[in-house]
Every structure is written in C-alpha cells, then in structure tokens.
Amino acid sequence: MADFEPVLLANIHLPDSHTFDVYEGKGGYRALRKTMRELKPVDVIEMVKASGLRGRGGAGFPTGLKWTFLPKDHPGPVYFLLNADESEPGTFNNRILMEEDPHQILEGLILSCFATRATAAYIYLRYEYPLALERMQRAVDECYRARYLGANILGSGYSLDVTLHRGAAAYICGEETGLIESLEGKRAWPRIKPPFPAVEGVFRKPTVVNNVETAACVTQIMSRGSDWFKSIGVPPPADNPRDAGSYGPKLYCLSGHIERPGCYEAPLGITVRQLVDQYGGGVWRGRKAKAAIPGGISMGLLREDEFDCPLDFSGPGRYGCLGLGTAAVVILDETVSIMDYLYNSARFFAHERGGQCPPCREGTSWALKILERIRAGRGRLKDLDLLAEIAGSIGIIPGTTICGLADGAAWPMKNALSKFREECEETIKRTNPKGWMVTDPVPALEAGITVHELKAVH
C-alpha cells in the first residue's frame, strides 16, 4: 500500500489544474495523440479488456465487455453517454474530477468514443454541479480549439462531437436507462431491458453509457498500459471464477464521522479500517465507530466488527451488503441511532423514487410512514417484521421492479434490521413503552397519521 501513487487525482492540487495548458503540460493528451496515430479502435477495446477495468458507476460491469456488446455492423450513429449525474448520497468523486481535472475525463471520453466508433457523445451532468458544468464546458471548448474534438481529429479521419446536457436534479436520472430517457427529453422512467442500451439506447440507437471515473481510468490505461492497471487491486477470489476481479485505482469518498473527510485514491481492495485509519485520520473526535456505509447509501451497512471488509467489487457482497457501489464510505459513530439512519435513508428513497413500479413506489413510502410513526413514539415490534418484508420484496433481485434502484432502497433496511435488530427493538420499546407489544393491525382510518401530527420523541 505504501508504494501506491495516486494517478487519477495526481494533478488536482496544481493551480489551475482544470485548464488545458496545465493538463497538457503534465503530459495530458499524449495517449490520445499516440492512439490516434498508431492504434485502431479494436486495439483500444483490447487494451481496456486486458486491463480488467470495471465500470466505476456502481454496478461494476466490465467496461471492455460492455463495449463489445454494440452491434457489429450497425449503420449508426452510435452514441456515447457519459453518466455525470452523480447523486448517490455520500458520493463526490466525479465532482472532484470534473471540477479539478476535466481534461482527464475528456481524454478518456474521446478514447472511449474512438474505441466504440461513437460519433456523438453526451455528457449528462448533474444539475447541482454548476462549477463542474462551467469547467467541463470550458474543457470541451478548449478541446475543440485544440482539434481534439470536432471533424477529423488530429488528421485521423475520426470525428466526434460532445454535447453537455444539464439534468434537472433527480436521483432516478442516474439509472442508465432513466438517464437515456431524460436525455431524450422524457420522464426519467427506466426502460425495460432487454433491449439493453448497447443495442437500443439514446434515440433508439446503440449507446455506451459509462461513468465519469471510468473515462478517467481509460485515460490512465491508455497512457500507462493495461499491465500497469492490472498490477493494482485484487484478483478474483479463487472460489468464484465468474468474478472479474477488481483492478486499478479507485476514488473513495470518505465522509460522516471522520476526522479528515474527503476523496482519496487508493487501490481497490483496501479495507474500511485501512481507509478510516490511514486516510481519514480515525473516527471523529476519537469516538468509536458503530457502522459504515460501504459505497453510497443504497449499498447497506457494515457493523464495526466488519470493517475488515475489503472495498473491492465482491467484498461488501460477502458481508451482506449490496455491493461496492460508488465506493462512498460514510462512517456512523456510536452516537448515531440506527432508527435515525433508517428514517433518513427511507426519506431519501421515498422522495427520489421513479415511481413506475408499485412495489417500490408504494413500498418505500409505506416504509417511510412506518419509520415516521416509530419516531413519533408509536412503534411496535411487529413493524420491524413488516419493514423486513417490504425490504425483501422490492428490487430486481426478486424481480418485482424494472430498475435496480429499488434494491438500493431495500438494502439499508435489510442490513439495519438484520445487523442491528437488537438496537431497533430496544429503540421501539424505549420510545413506546405502552404499545410496543401490540400485534393487532390498526384500523387505518383511525390510526393514520400525517406528517404534521408527528412530534419526534427523543
């Protein structure tokens, strides 16, 4: 670990790191020029495949493999869509990259488009990132001036146009096909799959959707080689040959109760404990940690005794979490009530639902209502079973929803209820000493509560 040298964040501390001159002065666009001069698209795909790069957006799908899903002899156009709608709570690595080193992303974007023969690229940018918008736009303009974008790039005969599209602030737009619908000007309701975007994406044409950090990784792979990339990280576990391994550097967003919150670059496979101690400077004010969110709120929860969980693509899954997600680690210290954590996450998901599928649309808002009632001192032990049932029945894993964001809403509940059951029960008994044991259903019309009637008891 000691000899690890950050590459993705190598330049962000330089003054004016977001400008073309600084980036190129530090050796930027060398890989692009070399590729355009010497390589064919298929070589780029092969290199990315050989590097073992997996998508950094959350699902961790092998990037090179995704590119090969494009139809071979499609008359075109093929589109490239850069997912910069970073909205998973706790996640800000894309923001750092876009604000401080936009050219690194653009270089990767141009290389990826070259590899996939995309002639138009869209960058779908989160609404709440005005500085990123400004700097990305500036970077795009600079690239056009330097002839790295536009017609006949560097005399290679390859042409590419990049369009920035600013979203309208919705979590659901971060879902691959929700993003596509939103880009087309429609309601961001994720599409049913198949067909996958590689076959029918933006404007019903073949489309590659990649994350911002993935594009930055492509830049590094093309400039440093796939062997370098593969030398970082962890190989697949021996007992699971279907795992593609977790290679390369990764940006970890560390926040919550931590001494030095921030975005840190570390090799994939670093454990939560290493991250907290070596990078984060320990838990805030020397307190004891209670739990950690491994990769954005939808990935679930790790107990303190599970902090040795390696943060690679398969690690959190082995500890009952949904996955690595965006690798945004949020530390909860011992003062945090798990019921509060649950309430907060439920409120987020109930608010941000796409609202297509009833199980998720109604399930998340029902869970929120239950948690509101528990906070109001009217919880019952039976509610926990109900929450667990709701959590267990929504998502693409049981098959009851269209998109995977429903699983993300379920996992915090699943993990909290299984890993912190005792605390949840204790909270309910403490806040509702007279009624926690009731098991009869409450007549809805009498017992229904609305938000204004709530007074939280603490």
């Binding site: 919705a170 049913i192 608010h351 599928c357 029902w366 209502k369 009851t400 259903p441 017992a447 229904g448």
Partner: protein, 536 residues
C-alpha cells in the same frame, strides 16, 4: 411451430406468432392479472401485476431450467421452449404484494365509484389480495378534476398504469395526458390550457383499469351490474365500429367499443360513443298518423298495414327511397315490397350525409366523413333492383319522367332530414309515405307519417366502407308506438310471424352476388364481402 408450456400444459403456437405470456395463458383459459399491459399499446411492464415464473426447456434434453426471479409475463415473449408458471406460491405472494401496495393510498370508495363492478383493482384484489389491511396510513379521498370535456379524473383512484398516457401518445398522437410529480405523489394530469380534447378521448375511460378516469356522460347514471351488454355496430359513420350497447330496461346508458381487429381494433370515436342521445329524445315520433280531410288521425299499425297496401296498389307508379340507415335486410324487404306493388317501381338510395373529410389517426383508426352506417349495403341492393345506382338527387326528375304517383321515403337520420327544405316531388304525387325518427319539412308534407326505429332498435346487418358485413340483433325495444322497419316490411310482404333478419340475409346472399359470403354463419367480427367476390 413453437411449443410453450404454461402451468404444465403445452400450447402449440403457429410460427411467426408474436405473443407474450399473458396472451398464451389466455389461450388456455388462464388469466394472468395485469394493469399496464394492453394489446393495442406499447409494453412498459411497470405495474408488476403480471409477474410470473419463467423458464426454458432445453430442446435437446427436455430439461427445464427456471429463472430465479420473477418476470413480467407481458414482457416475456412466448418463444419455442418458454415455460410459464402462473400459479406458484411465489407468484401468488407477488400478486398479493402488488395489490396491497396499490391499495395503500387508494380511497376504496367503491360505493360511489362508477367503475365498481367492472374494476380490475376490485376483481384482482378479491382474487389475489390480502384479506386484512396492514398499512395504517390514512388513504386519500377521491379528489376529482376534469381533464377535458368528456373525461374527469379521480386522482387518488389511479394506479399509474399509464395506459391513458400511452394512448394519447401512440394512438391519437395528441399527447395531452402526462404524469406529473414523482414517486408516490405521481398523478395523471394535462398541461394548463391544453385539456384532453381529441376525437378519441372517450377511449381512455375504457382503458383505465380502475375508476380513475370517469366518463362525464355516463357519470353516476347507472351501476354497471344492472346493465346488459348487447353486441352491436355503431351507426355513426361508415367505419362501422363494433360496439356493445349497454342498456337497462330498454334505456341505453353507454356505448363501448368491442374488439374487432378488422374494423376498429379496441377503439371508437367520441362522436359514435356519445352519439346515442337521439334514441331517448322526447322529440321522437311515436305514433303513425294519416292525413285526412279533417287533419291528422292516429292509425293502428295493423290497420295501417292493410290501408297502406291498398292505397299503394291503387295509386299507380311507385318509388321508394332506401335510407343508408336501413339494414341490408330491411332495404331488401322494402325493395321487394315495392316491386311487388309495382314491377317497375323506382328504387333510389336515400341522401348520404357527409361531414368534412375522413380523419385517420397515427395507428390507422379512421373516422369516416360519411355519417351513415350502411351506404355500401343499401347501394348494392339499389343497384341489384334498379340495375344502376339511382341517387336521391336524380329521383325527382326520374319520377316526373315516369309519372310516379306514390313515394315511400325511409329515413332514420338522427338529426334533421339531410335535405332540410321541403322537396318538390311534383304535383302528380298523390301518396307520400315518410318513415323517420324526427319531424322535418318532408315529414310535414307526408300523407302517412310512420315513426321509425333507431340503430339500437334494429336487427340485421350493416356493410361498412371496406365491404365488411356485420350482423347484430336488436339491443333495446323501440319506444311504444314505433314499429321497427324490418317488422313493418315483413308484414307488408305478408310473411307470417316476426321479422327474421337471419332468414332475410340468407335470401339476400342467394339473390345478390355481392352478398354471397354472407350465406355462411356470420362471425362476431363480421365477414369480408370482397373475399368471396374476388375468388369468384
């Protein structure tokens, strides 16, 4: 040939059939509940009610591998070797969950909801839902807001299947309806100032699987379980949509489209749907009258039949006008009668009302400019008897030339007689018999006024603009005092008993080559008269 297995039963599908799980199960009589899927709209698979277990049978080994998770049947194509399980524990649990979710905020105001009795939410909940409510959330009330002149929205009853939204985008191409807000606050709405105002708007009410979209015309008029559905054909225009007339005690409450792939798919236009008010208009003529020396006198139908026959036979040359509102059978009977009175009787086609031009929607549904149901059929009858098509406009001249002394005009127009001014049939005319629904200048000229029947009261067949003949029985009885045209002509011809449309159609099919295909039993969706003609 594709073999699909549904709940252990094998179904053979012809190759090239593109069916989904719901459709294949239906062939076996298994209903897979669904809200958002509709055969006429795109698949969104969002309601999750049709979740089933799916799998695949290996063609070589016969080994069946099931998928671990549930899949929507609407989105799963039934290809060779596909396995559907629609009744497992897992599937039933998923249905119960979706039903429970949909009812969390539903007002459950069935006692005051028009949809009660034909509501999918009600039916599915009865069959698949839980018997006890667990959510202690106060349900919404039935907030209501109009989305157009014809349709009103009960916001909280909605289950967000988005069928109505897709209908306005895909079928009418007008896109008035949309979804606003997010998550559990989603609602169907229109943009301010852009109400649901297209000519097919009433269909969204049929599409709505719950009571969210209400038909303003039908609202609170009748409980659905009191009504009987009678298959019929719309008489609004030459498209001839297959419909159901929904009536209770001889009163029509609403018309609904009846699926017919060859004519109207699943839809009908608002003009046809709401165009039945004239059936129960207080202005309808209900007693046959004779003009005498001392003014008008009511006549009994039995006496009238005798009198008409006597007077017509005494009058000399005879002409009849066959209205395009008559059924094929009625037109044939009247023409036969005319020729029995006068072997050279003139037989003309009545005025054909037209309005504007044909209007075709993106998916092919057409509203015809010709606002009568049976011009095609009646014209064929006229041509058969007359040798050529004698139009109404040519009739006065022909009558004068041939010295016609008596004229029978059949009507059935739901508005005024199309030629509103009094028509001059020459001073030679001694006997004018007018048969119509409403009074008109022509009606006032008549010697005999015969109240006629409206479309829902008739039995017989219409031939639409594309030569498709559809047969139907009467849906309601005519108002007291009215004798349906078919019955009157039947009696004038001296045939015993009641008018038998089927018998007459057999005769027509024997006599007229154009109708030859109608000799076979007529399917519910009708028969294409062109098919046999081409073959011959």
């Amino acid at each position: 040939m594709a073999t699909v297995i549904v709940d252990g039963q094998e179904v053979e599908l012809p190759s090239g059939s593109a069916l989904n799980g719901i459709q294949v199960a239906k062939q076996l009589g298994i209903e897979v509940p669904h809200y958002c899927w509709h055969p006429g709209l795109t698949v969104v698979a969002s309601c999750r009610m049709c979740l089933v277990e799916t799998g695949r049978r290996d063609p070589a080994t016969g080994q069946i591998t099931m998928m671990g998770k549930l899949s929507p049947a609407c989105q799963t194509p039934a290809t060779d070797g596909t396995v559907f399980v629609t009744n497992s524990e897992k599937v039933r649990a998923a249905r119960a969950m979706v039903e429970e979710d949909l009812l969390i905020r539903h007002p459950v105001d069935c006692p005051i909801c028009d949809k009660a009795g034909e509501c999918h939410l009600q039916d599915y909940h009865f069959e698949h839902g839980r018997d006890q409510r667990r959510a202690d959330i106060r349900p919404f009330t039935s907030r209501r807001r109009p989305v157009g002149d014809t349709v009103t929205l009960f916001v909280d009853r909605c289950v967000m299947c988005t069928r109505c939204v897709r209908f306005t985008r895909e079928i009418t191409g007008t896109s008035e309806l949309m979804v606003i807000n997010r998550g559990s606050h989603e609602e169907i709405d229109v943009f301010p100032g852009y109400p649901l105002a297209n000519k097919l708007s009433g269909n969204v009410v049929d599409l709505c699987p719950v009571g969210a979209l209400g038909d303003v015309d039908f609202l609170y008029q009748q409980r659905v379980w009191f009504m009987k559905r009678q298959p019929h054909v719309c008489a609004g225009c030459a498209t001839g949509c297959s419909i159901f007339v929904e009536e209770n005690q001889d009163r029509v409450y609403r018309l609904k489209p009846r699926e017919n792939a060859a004519v109207n798919q699943w839809w009908m236009c608002d003009e046809g749907r709401y165009g039945f008010a004239h059936l129960h208009s207080p202005d309808r003529m209900t007693s046959p009258r004779r003009r005498g020396d001392s003014g008008w006198a009511d006549v009994e139908w039995s006496q009238l039949v005798v009198e008409l026959d006597q007077q017509l036979r005494a009058a000399g040359r005879f002409a009849v006008v066959l209205s395009p509102h008559l059924t094929v059978e009625e037109a044939y009977l009247l023409a036969c009668y005319a020729r029995s009175v006068d072997a050279q009787a003139l037989i003309a086609l009545g005025p054909v009302p037209t309005e504007g031009t044909d209007e075709t929607f993106p998916q092919g549904f057409t509203i015809s400019a010709e606002k009568c149901p049976n011009r095609q059929g009646v014209a064929a009858i006229v041509q058969h008897f007359q040798g050529s098509l004698l139009e109404f406009a040519e009739l006065p001249a022909r009558m004068a030339a041939e010295g016609v002394r008596s004229l029978w005009v059949s009507g059935g127009y739901k508005t005024d007689w199309p030629a509103t001014a009094a028509i001059d049939f020459g001073s030679e005319l001694r006997l004018l018999i007018v048969q119509d629904l409403f009074a008109s200048p022509l009606w006032e000229q008549a010697t005999f006024q015969l109240p006629g029947a409206a479309f829902a009261e008739r039995a017989g067949s219409y031939v639409n603009r594309h030569d498709r003949l559809q047969s139907f029985a009467w849906a309601i009885r005519p108002p007291a005092g009215v004798m349906v045209e078919g019955q009157l002509y039947w009696r004038l011809l001296g045939r015993p008993g009641l008018y038998q449309a089927r018998e007459v159609l057999h005769e027509v099919a024997r006599e007229l080559l154009y109708f030859a295909a109608a000799s076979e039993p007529i399917a519910e969706t009708g028969v294409d008269l062109k098919v046999l003609q081409l073959a011959k």
